[in-house]
Symmetry: C2
Subunit: 252 residues, 2 copies
């Protein structure tokens, strides 16, 4: 079986922002589904692991778009496994348009965890040697890897969000792309009017659950790079909780 | 050309709620896209009207599901134009599964408005006689039409929401399915654990814009039927603003 799997989409009018550009959460979900499509065809998809009481969780995601697809444009997502470590696997993506256009690339890191204990398993042991056969480290993914995001101070809190029903996915925790939605909503429409979001980095550290509060701490060294920590607390408080997600958003 | 157009989907793991059931907002967007797919193939889609500075807006939507699709199930959306009036058109939907399963039906009312003046146009005059040729009033849509939702009192406010960047779509106003998201988030995870959402009615009256506040007023005559009014105000206030959306949600 080939190492790369491609899924094709069209930017439909109801998955764009006010500038008619593909929404980043939609692209994010498309990347997750592209991964699932690739994995399930090779016997290690969500359903395969769910059936034995395990699940895939996303540890890190970085997406960089030199060009944002706009309404009615086609976009094609190529995805492949880059490497497998014991507890993690790297999966990369190329996001292409028609006629050789390259919108951008993405990198992700995943682990398989036990549904009850939430502990990660050894991937080769769990999925078997076949998992390694699909690795394609020779394929290029010419975007920088994850940044090191420094801890932020309590003084930098910019918003609260109480976790709602729609934030929760079938893994029982706040969905990875919902964090992205809430992150993007920190910024004003005016900022999006003047600048384009070019790169998003997400580092998932702990899970947040229904009824918890999310605190958003933000800092910016210059006007285009924003570091954010999303922390969870059981009650609404100014005191910094446990970090769930670290993120960096880069505008241009 | 045939009168009915069908689009097919699979419930992917990232468009479900914590019970692995298809999220209603995803289905809602699928219904909008099914409409767009049907209309654009017949020369009166979003792009056709946008090109001459008009746009389609949804005036009413009712969706009733006797069975909610769950993860990995296929669902097929049939859509057709039921009737055309001067300023409005009725579009219906059947939501089917594989092997003759019927998940439910939907009804919608649309108008074409001028992008600048926001005034509706005469549909036959604007789109031409061909529009009427596609009407299929003979096709069944066996769910009740829209209810009459009575005005609610200021005392019934259950939440505020400040309109964010991600709420706004390419029409420059709060997206119709975002209201549904915020409506569904009024209810607790516990309620969804005990009950299933069976029917949603949405009546769009006025547009809300970036930076405005939405107030949610809710009333329930019995424990399964919830009437909600969503009002817009320029500032955060308890005083009831102008009604944007009237809604009814029925659980079972």
């Amino acid at each position: 079986m080939q190492k790369v799997e491609t899924t094709s989409h069209i930017v439909d009018p109801f998955h764009t922002d006010y500038k008619k550009q593909l929404s980043w959460e939609t692209l994010g979900v498309d990347l997750l589904n592209a991964a699932e499509n690739h994995a399930s065809k090779r016997g290690f998809g969500m359903k395969d692991v769910n059936d034995v009481n395990y699940t895939w969780v996303l540890a890190r995601l970085v997406v960089e778009l030199n060009l944002t697809p706009i309404v009615y444009q086609n976009y094609h997502i190529d995805t492949w496994v880059d490497k497998v470590y014991s507890l993690f696997t790297n999966r990369n993506y190329a996001i292409r348009g028609d006629d050789g256009v390259v919108f951008g690339y993405a990198r992700s890191i995943w682990s398989t965890i036990n549904y009850e204990t939430r502990k990660p398993v050894d991937l080769i042991e769990f999925h078997g040697e076949k998992f390694e056969e699909y690795c394609a480290p020779e394929l290029p993914c010419p975007i920088k890897p994850y940044s090191r995001i420094k801890p932020l101070a309590e003084a930098d809190m910019v918003k609260y969000h109480k976790v709602t029903y729609s934030d929760i996915d079938m893994n029982g925790h706040v969905n990875s792309m919902k964090y992205l939605l809430h992150l993007r909503d920190i910024f004003s429409l005016e900022q999006y009017r003047q600048q384009r979001l070019r790169r998003v980095e997400l580092q998932y550290q702990k899970e947040a659950y229904y009824g918890q509060w999310l605190q958003f701490f933000m800092n910016s060294d210059d006007k285009d790079v924003y570091d954010v920590e999303i922390c969870r607390t059981d009650n609404k408080t100014d005191e910094k909780g446990e970090v769930c997600v670290k993120a960096r958003l880069i505008f241009e």
